[in-house]
């Protein structure tokens, strides 16, 4: 027989303990607006000391309403990311008190905040929910609740009523606690409590509670005393509490769940860590012995439940601090040994307290010291990277410095391993000191040699720093997709403007529009700009809406084909296949144009076949998926196409890494006569390199007859990279799903247009190869902005509900057979596809001007000697130092910007850790950026390694050629 039949829970959002406390010593005139406005609690406790209780109700940070509601209903402690199995919906999937009540036939009525509807859809027998979105609105929710509360209490069809008032919280956000509005609001709440008490039955338990408090400015979210200390008021005419203690003990918020469960006679939810308030289980009719027994029973059930949870948690492979766990086991044994009921009771309560303590220890909390040391470490690494980019250490590569840098990296990472036993704070500062010492020791190499920032470098850097500063403002983070697109457009337009200035300044006062802007160069500039800008603007079709973007209408691109209505299926299929085909066809066309797909080298054959075959397979796979979904089939082998694609990609990349040359040597003299001449066959254009090679060999050894003719040598460096990227793009499209193939195409197009603009700028302004091969900050900024834009373009948002879980099942049949890593990898690939693609493609930024000047000689500026530059990328093959240097500086600048972004987001999360929106906006933003940085680092390294490998292969090929000649 449970102690109570019915319960009314009045949840007054942000009801701080001192709002509810009545201080009789204060005069009315001296009170602050929030003091002594709710005298009902004090009066009732005074009148019925055995039936009522008011105590502090301690919340666990984060003290935001959503996290608190989860804590109050599941009884578990908050973890950093609410680690439920499904991020995609708000619905609570853990065992919780509402589910237990419903399962055992109790009817629950809900009034107030509509967050409850999202957390527990379909659980409530009756509900009156109101939007909690507008923080400025103090009254809608409260008035709605009050207008229905009396009526609902009068009905006989409930066992539990939950009424959630929001006015006090909203009043705090809008005005702060020290405002007359707060007094009015609290008085209204006081009235509401009085009315409920007047209308209560004898077997009803009333709980009035706050989910968190507020600071002096009315905010909450952090772990300060003001935010954590809410109020709890318990009252029932049937209650029989022991004589009130002199000093009221605080109650933890997790204790609510077991207390509520046991007082209504339902099982305690599985993951609850609370300790039952055993005194609340005792009703007035019981004898002293019965009461003791009741308390004992409650605690015993509670201990069994907590133990079940802890054991299950441990069996999942988690570990507890050794000493605490040992102590717990001892306590449990002691409790069972004890014969006296009282002794067992104390042991039980100790057990429960200790269990909660232990779990708090291992779950998240803010550690300011560790955060600070981490931030310092990041800052010093950033400083070092910034110095390295501009120092002489890079301009004339000194290998010993790079080697020493490597040693430093290894030592710092070893320290990281040690930190597991010594704590992160010491590690952070030690590593920091090491890095600073290293920098001091190498100060003569790290001196910044020349700092010539031009407009083309400064303005993009300024724009990017706007973007970085935006991390500190929640509104800018919420609309970051718009901000990034705007900044990307500005960067691209800046290129166009400066190019136009450059063009005009060379043709002074010719006056005629057509003469100045009618040549191939200007037209290419304009076309490149227009293509880039239109592509960026069109990316809006693929953006995903954040929860906070209330104006945003979700597009169709996020819905997979099978989720669309029948009549759209064909349309969607073809609009997905077309971008895929274009994304493969355009690079292929480029390679053909450069003459890199001739002959029968292994790499050439692969580059000709694999991307096309893979894209056909993707189209086939989409068709299979659509058929399966439409007819509810489970075809055998439907996972084969994706797996074949993965395998083919792996083989393709591996083979190209081993034999990366995509060139074709024409068989010498004798057979050459039968070959058609260049001019006869313009479709297979032989790059101009062949002429220069001819001349070179003619001047070097004027023997004459054996002049090698080579197709595609001028783009030999980038061609292999393009061939690899083609296949990676296909895989990315596969994982992104049919709706987003257009987005991937747009990303490829914007990247190509940016490369074009950057190359044109370089060709227009550079005087020598050294300048040409050094892209500088502007290119890094453009590429960085583009990578973030790509993240949003491919339908992502830095929030956990926005992850594309469907990607986990591309080519994976059942999650059990392969473990968790494959689905996790696929979701990661889907989420960070743009970081991966742009990181891999980074070397193209360096070589693009050279490739472009060879393939389209009309774009070549007059400043560069024509003969020299017609050898294209082979120039860099012959100057490995220059290639390495420019690759290094480009990669460093790009990584520097990405790391600066991570630093800003983490600094924002640190500074704003008390912010209302920390858990919704800043913390996820930081996590997404941090993982993105890791992806960037890996992909940039892979791209660099691959390019250097191609360079080595080309160089050794060239040596062989020279020897043969």
């Amino acid at each position: 027989m449970p102690p109570f039949r019915k319960t009314i829970i009045l949840l007054i959002d942000a009801l701080r303990y001192d709002f509810a406390l009545y201080n009789a010593s204060l005069k009315d005139d001296d009170t602050l607006p929030y003091q002594n406005k709710m005298p009902v609690f004090g009066e009732i406790v005074k009148q019925h000391p055995h039936q009522a209780l008011l105590s502090p109700f301690m919340a666990d940070a984060p003290t935001t309403t959503m996290q608190r509601l989860k804590g109050l209903t599941t009884g578990s402690l908050p973890t950093f990311i609410d680690a439920s199995l499904n991020f995609a919906s708000e619905e609570i999937e853990e065992d919780n008190i509402i589910d237990q009540l419903v399962r055992h036939g109790r009817r629950v009525t809900i009034l107030g905040d509509d967050t409850w509807g999202g957390l527990f859809p379909g659980r409530f027998s009756r509900s009156h929910l109101y939007s909690s979105f507008n923080v400025m609105d103090l009254h809608t929710v409260d008035r709605g609740v009050l207008s229905h509360l009396g009526e609902e209490m009068g009905r006989g069809d409930w066992e539990v009523i939950v009424a959630h008032f929001l006015g006090v919280d909203h009043c705090g956000h809008r005005y702060g606690p020290n405002h007359p509005q707060m007094a009015t609001k609290l008085a209204q709440m006081n009235e509401a409590v009085l009315q409920v008490i007047a209308g209560m039955d004898n077997d009803t338990l009333l709980l009035v509670l706050g989910d968190h408090g507020m600071t002096q400015t009315g905010d909450h979210g952090g772990d300060s005393r003001e935010e954590v200390e809410a109020a709890l008021f318990v009252y029932s005419p049937a209650l029989h509490l022991p004589s009130p203690p002199v000093h009221t003990l605080p109650v933890a918020q997790v204790d609510l769940v077991p207390t509520l469960a046991l007082s209504l006679g339902v099982p305690v939810p599985f993951s609850s860590l609370g300790k039952v308030m055993e005194d609340v289980l005792v009703t007035a009719g019981m004898s002293a012995e019965e009461a003791e027994k009741q308390r004992h029973l409650g605690l015993h059930l509670n201990v069994q439940q907590v133990k079940r949870y802890l054991t299950a948690y441990r069996e999942l492979g988690n570990s507890y601090p050794q000493d605490l766990w040992h102590k717990l086991e001892l306590l449990e044994g002691k409790a069972l040994e004890k014969s006296s009921v009282g002794g067992q009771r104390t042991a039980f309560s100790e057990y429960l307290t200790l269990a909660k303590l232990m779990c708090e220890e291992i779950w998240a909390r803010f550690d300011v010291q560790e955060m600070l040391s981490g931030l310092c470490l990041m800052l010093s690494v950033l400083l070092m990277a910034g110095l390295l980019i501009h120092s002489s250490a890079l301009t004339d590569i000194k290998t010993h410095i790079i080697k020493r840098l490597l040693i430093l990296t290894v030592v710092v990472n070893l320290l990281f391993a040690l930190s597991l036993s010594f704590g992160f704070v010491i590690f952070g500062y030690a590593a920091n000191v090491l890095i600073l010492l290293w920098m001091y020791a190498h100060r003569q190499h790290l001196t910044v040699s020349q700092l010539d920032f031009k407009a083309i470098d400064c303005i993009p850097l300024l724009l990017v720093s706007f973007l970085l500063l935006g991390s500190f403002s929640n509104s800018f983070v919420v609309v970051e997709n718009y901000v990034v697109a705007f900044i990307l457009l500005s960067c691209i337009t800046l290129y166009l403007l400066l190019l136009m200035l450059e063009i005009v300044s060379k043709k002074l006062s010719s006056g005629k529009m057509l003469k100045v802007f009618g040549n191939a160069f200007s037209v290419t500039c304009g076309t490149g700009w227009a293509a880039a800008v239109v592509c960026v603007r069109c990316s809006g079709w693929f953006w995903r809406c954040r929860e906070e973007q209330h104006w945003c209408l979700p597009g169709q691109a996020q819905v997979p084909l099978s989720g669309l209505p029948q009549h759209l299926h064909n349309w969607r299929y073809f609009t997905s296949v077309l971008p895929l085909a274009l994304a493969v066809w355009l690079p292929r066309r480029w390679l053909l144009l450069c003459g890199n797909l001739n002959g029968s080298r292994v790499g050439v054959v692969l580059a000709r076949t694999v991307p096309v075959a893979c894209s056909v397979l993707v189209a086939v796979w989409w068709a299979i998926q659509a058929v399966m979904a439409a007819h509810n089939l489970d075809l055998w082998g439907h996972v084969i196409p994706p797996r074949v694609i993965y395998a083919a990609t792996a083989v393709h990349v591996a083979v190209l890494a081993c034999v990366p040359l995509l060139i074709y040597e024409l068989p010498p003299a004798a057979s050459r006569k039968s070959q058609p001449l260049v001019s006869d066959n313009p479709s297979t254009l032989i790059p101009h390199l062949y002429k220069s090679l001819m001349e070179k060999y003619r001047t070097q050894n004027s023997k004459g007859p054996t002049i090698p003719i080579v197709y595609g040598l001028a783009t030999g460096l980038s061609a292999s990279m393009v061939a690899v990227l083609m296949v990676v793009v296909v895989v990315v499209v596969l994982v992104a799903g049919d709706g987003l193939s257009g987005a991937v195409l747009l990303l490829v197009l914007v990247a190509a247009a940016s490369l074009l603009l950057q190359a044109l700028w370089k060709l227009k302004t550079c005087h020598n190869l050294k300048e040409l091969a050094r892209p500088g900050w502007s290119a890094a900024c453009l590429w960085f902005t583009l990578s973030i834009h790509g993240f949003y373009l491919t339908g992502h948002q830095p929030t956990f509900p926005a992850l594309h879980w469907s990607a986990a099942f591309v080519g994976v049949e059942g999650a059990q057979s392969v473990g968790n890593w494959a689905p996790a990898l696929l979701v990661g690939l889907n989420t960070y596809s743009s970081y991966l693609l742009l990181g891999l493609a980074l070397p193209l930024v360096v070589v693009a001007p050279l490739a472009l000047s060879v393939v389209f000689p009309s774009l070549r500026g007059s400043r560069l000697e024509g003969d020299e530059i017609s050898r294209g990328e082979f120039l860099l093959v012959e100057e490995p130092d220059m290639l390495r240097e420019s690759l290094m500086s480009t990669a460093l600048s790009y990584i520097f910007l990405q790391a600066a972004k991570v630093f800003c987001t983490s600094l924002a999360a640190f500074v704003l850790r008390r912010h209302l929106m920390l858990w919704k906006i800043f913390a996820p933003h930081f996590i997404f950026e941090a993982v993105g940085l890791i992806v960037t680092l890996l992909s940039v390294l892979a791209g660099l390694g691959f390019t250097l490998r191609v360079q080595a292969a080309l160089a050794s090929w060239g040596e062989r050629l020279v020897k043969a000649a």
């Binding site: 509104s475 800018f476 457009l489 005009v504 300044s505 006056g511 529009m513 603007r537």
Partner: protein, 219 residues
């Protein structure tokens, strides 16, 4: 530039810039007084654009032919273009510049169909401040002249207006819920502020020039 203009032209320039200042402050004042009410603000912005273009036209009519103009006329004569054709071309290019500005504004993120009136008002404002005025003063090859930095007044003003309009987009995302954050008021106010700044700068340049001239005369 300045050396070639006579005192009459300089006076006209000063007068024009002071009028520009007055108009700019006036339109800002109207917008603020209306409490940033959208419809009336858009109306006053359009009126302001028209007024500015008219002012420029009147000034052009009153100014004696300057060097660039002389060359333009000479060219026109050699190529046998009538003055009417030249005017027609300028009008055509002005319309094109409004449409072009509108397209660029949309490309930079304005809605295509929603708020089209607001977007078009902004394009009208920016185009008339940054493109139509130079077209009136410099003739049809105004864009080239601007990029060649031949006419400092037009160039400074055009660039200031464009950059200020662009910068006016930054306050839009902030969640302050102020009435002036409504599209396109931030950008329009930015454009007018840019224009005001450029006018003040230009007046100060004229002032210092005038000062030296006066001193020279005194000697």
């Amino acid at each position: 530039m300045f050396e070639q203009t006579g005192p009459h032209a300089t006076n006209l320039l000063v007068l024009k810039n002071i009028l520009c200042l007055v108009f700019g402050v006036g339109v800002l004042w109207t917008i603020v007084l209306s409490g940033y009410e959208l419809a009336s603000s858009l109306y006053s912005l359009r009126a302001y654009s028209l007024l500015v273009v008219l002012l420029e036209g009147v000034c052009r009519y009153l100014t004696p032919a300057s060097s660039s103009e002389i060359s333009a006329i000479a060219k026109a004569k050699t190529k046998k273009h009538s003055k009417i054709f030249e005017t027609f071309l300028v009008v055509l290019l002005s319309v094109c510049s409004v449409i072009g500005t509108h397209v660029v504004v949309v490309l930079f993120g304005a809605y295509v169909i929603e708020n089209i009136e607001a977007t078009f008002t902004l394009s009208l404002l920016v185009a008339s401040l940054a493109f139509i005025r130079p077209l009136i003063t410099l003739g049809r090859s105004a864009v080239i002249n601007l990029l060649e930095r031949q006419n400092i007044e037009s160039e400074v003003k055009s660039f200031a207006v464009l950059v200020a309009t662009w910068a006016g987009a930054f306050p839009i995302p902030l969640d302050w819920d102020r009435p002036w954050q409504v599209w396109p008021l931030t950008c329009s106010i930015g454009a007018i502020l840019g224009e005001l700044g450029a006018s003040v700068y230009f007046l100060s340049v004229l002032w210092s020039k005038g000062g030296t001239q006066w001193k020279n005369k005194a000697r």
